[in-house]
Every structure is written in C-alpha cells, then in structure tokens.
C-alpha cells in the first residue's frame, strides 16, 4: 500500500545524507585494498607461510625479523642499495630538472615542439623502455658505448658489472623522470612574482645572488613537493631494476623491493617476504613523516 512512498522516502533520506554517503564506495574499496591487506601483511610476517600447496602455517613469532636483522647478510646491504638508488636518482632528477628549467625559462620559437619531445620518456611504458635501454647497454652488441665514444667516454659494461650496475640504472631513472621535474620547476618559475627580481636588479645583485637569495627560497614549495614525491617514488622503483638487471650481478642491484619479490615469488617464502615488506613500510612511513615535520618547521614563505 505504502510501498512507493516508502521507497521515495528512503531515496529522499539518502539524498539528504549524501555528504557522507558519497564517500562510502571509496572508503570501502580503500579499506579492502589497503587496511585489511596491511593487517594481513603484518600477520603473515609472524608466520612461516610458503606459497605452495601443502604444509601447515605456523606462528613463528619474531623469527622472520630475527632472520632479516641477524642472519641474512643481504638484508642490510639491500637497505643500503635501496637508499643509494633512491637518493642518487632523486638528486640527479632534481638538479638536472632545475638546471634545465632555469635554462629554458624564456620564450623561444618551437617551445611547444620541444616540450612535446621531452614528454616522451614520461609517457612511454617503463618496461618497454627498460628493454630498449637493456639492449643499448648490452656489453656485446649494445650501441650506447659506440655513441658515447664520440663524446670521449670510455667503454662501460653497464649493468653487466657489479660496480657499474647501480649508476647505470640510476642513469635510466634520471633519463625517465628529469623531464617531469623540469616541467614542474618550469611551471614554478613562471609563477614567481616579478617584483623581487626587479628590486634586486636595481640594487645591483649578481645573477648568482638572485638565484640563491630569491629564486631558490621562492621555489621552496616546489622543491619540497618534488623531493618528497621523487624520494618516495625512488624507494618503490621495481620495473627498471627487474628488467635491466633482475637484482644482479652478484645481487649488487637487489633493492629491498626486488629482494621482497624474489623471496615471495621466487623462493616462495612469503612469510619472510612479509617481514621485509613490513619493515619497508615502516621506513617509508618514517621518511614521509620526517619530511612533513621538517617542512612544518622550515616553512616561512
């Protein structure tokens, strides 16, 4: 009898509550994909679970963590490799990106075409480009050594040598992301107010002084945002290392990411891999938290 009005009233009520109802799907999906899996990750890290049929899952307490901290010689090394990779590639992208942005911060003919070409590394599928770089860097048939010899560079074994594998992959990472940092810095430079520069010119400041005293401080929000994003991204890089070296040679490029993957899906030790994963999660949390604190303290513009 009252069916239609009941439906209608429910709909009207829902409509009035839309402010929070609207966020329900997103919250549910995120809970399902983040909150529960993170709980599951930590729970698994206390067990000896393996990725194969049969075998019982037992609670082993902190054994996985003890194994990582005290027994597995590669663990501390992989943390060093991970940090080396993240910091090295971030610094490279930031410095090169800022330098290019300063150089290009003017109007010139062909600007649009130029920018279009620079966008290619960002857009192209990383796995495909890593494959291209691995062919270029191939010690026997690769042509990179040949082209670089024009500029006087000596021959390199690139990813085939434990001593050069990390710098080589960092180079590819810098090649991949410098256009992005450059575009962000360029947008930042274009948005800076003109007055401080005019005043400085009147006061006879040198170019270097203007850069360190005006440009850099004004760019601080951009620098901070990029630093945070690129650093966190650097800690997560997987595709390039996986395709270019697979962690070798001699595990010299096995970052924590690759180590976790190998432990979980190579050695099937998902319990141990989860312990490593929980630790990586903690590192990233601490770093981002630390950077936020740092920003709040030094934020003066």
């Amino acid at each position: 009898m009252n069916d239609t009005s009941l439906v209608q009233r429910t709909l009207e009520y829902a409509d009035s509550q839309i402010r929070w109802l609207f966020s329900v799907p997103a919250v549910l999906v995120m809970l399902g994909l983040f909150a529960y899996p993170l709980f599951k990750l930590i729970a698994t890290s206390f067990t000896n679970e393996v990725l194969s049929s049969g075998g019982t899952i037992e609670f082993v307490g902190l054994a996985n963590y003890a194994r990582a901290f005290f027994e597995d010689h590669h663990f501390w090394r992989s943390i060093w490799i991970t940090l080396y990779f993240a910091v090295g590639s971030t610094l490279g992208q930031m410095i090169l990106g800022l330098g290019l942005a300063l150089f290009l911060n003017r109007q010139f003919k062909g600007e649009a075409t130029f920018r279009m070409f620079l966008m290619f590394p960002i857009i192209a599928t990383p796995v495909a480009m890593s494959l291209v770089w691995s062919m270029l860097m191939n010690p026997m048939m690769g042509q990179l050594n040949y082209y670089l010899s024009f500029f006087g560079f000596p021959k390199s074994l690139w990813t085939a040598d434990a001593a050069t594998v990390l710098p080589s992959i960092i180079m590819v990472e810098i090649w991949h992301w410098t256009p992005m940092t450059m575009l962000v810095f360029l947008a930042g430079l274009k948005s800076l107010p003109k007055e401080p520069f005019e005043a400085a010119t009147v006061d006879g400041a040198s170019r270097m002084q203007m850069f360190t005293r005006i440009t850099l401080p004004l760019l601080q929000p951009y620098i901070f945002l990029l630093l945070l994003m690129r650093l966190v991204h650097g800690l997560k890089v997987f595709d390039k290392i996986f395709v270019l070296s697979g962690g070798g040679p001699d595990r010299a490029s096995e970052t924590l990411n690759i180590m976790i993957y190998n432990q979980a899906f190579g050695a099937m030790n998902i319990g141990y891999a989860s312990a490593l994963g929980s630790f990586l999660m903690l590192i990233i949390l601490l770093i981002s938290f630390g950077l936020f604190r740092f920003r709040q303290r030094s934020w003066s513009y």
């Binding site: 599951k40 290619f120 192209a124």
Partner: protein, 274 residues
C-alpha cells in the same frame, strides 16, 4: 651595432644547439627503437649501425605470430577502460565530499596512501586474491589499479571541486533539484577539465603498470607490459623483434597521451608522478 647583432645571432644559434642536444639525449632511445625494429637479424645488432640497410617488417610479423600479442593488447585495453570508468564512479563523489567538507586529515591520508610501496600490498593481495578467486581476472586487475587511481584522483580533483562555487549548487537546490541530481547535472559538467586530465594520466598509469599484472595475472588476463617482459625472456639477443615488441607495447599510450597533450601537461605540472 652590427657587432651586437652578430653576438645575438651567435648566442641564439648556441641556444638552439644546446636545445637540440637536450632533445637528442631524451629522444634518442625512441629513434633507436624505431630504427632497430626495422632491421634484419644481421644489421640489428651491428656496431657501428648500418644506416643504409634495407628496412624490413619481418620483426613485427614475428611479434604478431609469437605468443599472444593480440590477446594481451585486448586485455590491456579492457583493463584500462574498466579501471577508468570504475575510478570515476568511485572517486568523483568522494573527492566532492572531501572538497566540500575541507578535512585536512583526509588529505593527508590520501597522500599517505599514494606512498605505500606496491610490493608490500601485493604480498597479501596475492594470498587474498587466490582465496577469493580474483587471481587472473579482469576484476582483480581493475581492483589493483584502483589502489593508486583513487588516491590520485581524489587528490587532483579536490582543487577542481573547490573551484565550483557553492552558490551554483544552492541555486539548483532551490529549483527543486535533488543533491544527487545537482551533483550529476550541475557539478560534474563543471569539472570536465579535471575528468579529462585524470583519464589521460590514468590511461598512462594503467597502461604502463607492470608489477601488479606480473603477479596477479596469469594466462588469461596477461597485459602488454607482461607480454613484453616474457618476450624478452624468449628472445634474449634478437634485437629486431625485441625492439618491435617494445615499440608496439608503447605506441598506443604515446598516441593517446599526445592527443590529449594539454591535459597531460596540466596533470604533470600539478606534480603528477605517482
């Protein structure tokens, strides 16, 4: 006066020379991959390169014939499109609510979610997806893509929604439009620019993603990046077919993004690396 002009001409020439060098550094691998994909097995790995060699399309034929290229192309397309649609349905309302209620802690949460290392999520997902039967399904891959699409969309759309004046909505309510109707008919069309930006960047992210499908897709739903990786394992030193496979895998995303360049640049300038 003439001397001054000469200096200007020289400095301009120098500027363009440096420009050309920069383009060369960043664009060189693309030229190389196009060149190599057209080479026969003998000339593909030649050092120095044989620039006069006759081009051949054999490598592309080999990619088409070997493995399941077209199947993977279809898989990639389906997963990307489904993700984009699902993402808009889920994220737009959420971003709208957060923008209207201005809750800072929610924004920090969104930012933090973007930072979680993927491999840490993959380990539990693998166990859970296998148990729920989501392993090697489109649905599972779409879900995995949503983990980075939702925080990113909410983060980017906040600004767009904040720019929509509340007065516009209030006027619609006064005219008897429901909240839902106002959102769909008034607010969403006003943030069209944001939606195109998100979809362009989302197309790129979802097309390029490798780690999730590497672990979560099997024979049925293998995507193109995983195909390319498998192709590498099968053709170690055969540069021609490898270059062709790499080129074919990235061509669609490059074409799509270049068609939407304006929106892509907007998103990137916003700080758009995941």
């Amino acid at each position: 006066m003439r001397q001054y002009q000469t200096i200007r001409t020289i400095s301009r020439l120098l500027f363009y020379a440096i420009l050309l060098f920069i383009v060369g550094v960043f664009f060189f691998p693309f030229l190389w991959v196009i060149y190599t994909s057209l080479q026969s097995p003998i000339t593909a790995g030649a050092v120095p390169p044989d620039l006069l060699a006759t081009p051949t399309l054999d490598n592309f034929r080999q990619v088409f014939e070997q493995g399941q290229f077209f199947r993977c192309l279809l898989n990639s397309t389906v997963v990307v499109l489904l993700t984009l649609v699902a993402n808009l349905i889920i994220s737009l309302p959420a971003a709208y609510v957060i923008a209207r209620n201005r809750q800072n802690w929610m924004m920090f949460l969104v930012l933090f979610l973007q930072m979680a290392p993927w491999i840490c999520l993959l380990l539990p997902w693998y166990i859970i997806f296998k148990k729920l039967g989501l392993y090697d399904t489109y649905f599972g891959l779409v879900l995995s893509n949503l983990t980075f699409m939702i925080p990113f969309t909410v983060w980017l759309m906040l600004g767009f929604f904040e720019d929509v004046p509340v007065e516009v909505e209030e006027a619609a309510w006064l005219d008897g439009c429901s909240h839902m109707g106002t959102f769909i008919r008034i607010v969403v069309p006003l943030v069209k620019g944001g939606i195109i930006t998100i979809s362009t960047l989302g197309f790129m992210f979802c097309w390029n993603i490798f780690l999730f499908p590497l672990v979560l897709s099997g024979y049925e739903t293998k995507t193109l990046p995983v195909f390319v990786y498998g192709f590498l394992a099968d053709n170690q030193l055969d540069f021609g077919p490898l270059a062709a496979a790499a080129l074919l895998a990235m061509a669609p995303v490059i074409v799509f993004v270049l068609l939407n360049q304006k929106y892509f640049r907007q998103g990137i300038a916003f700080g758009g690396g995941k």
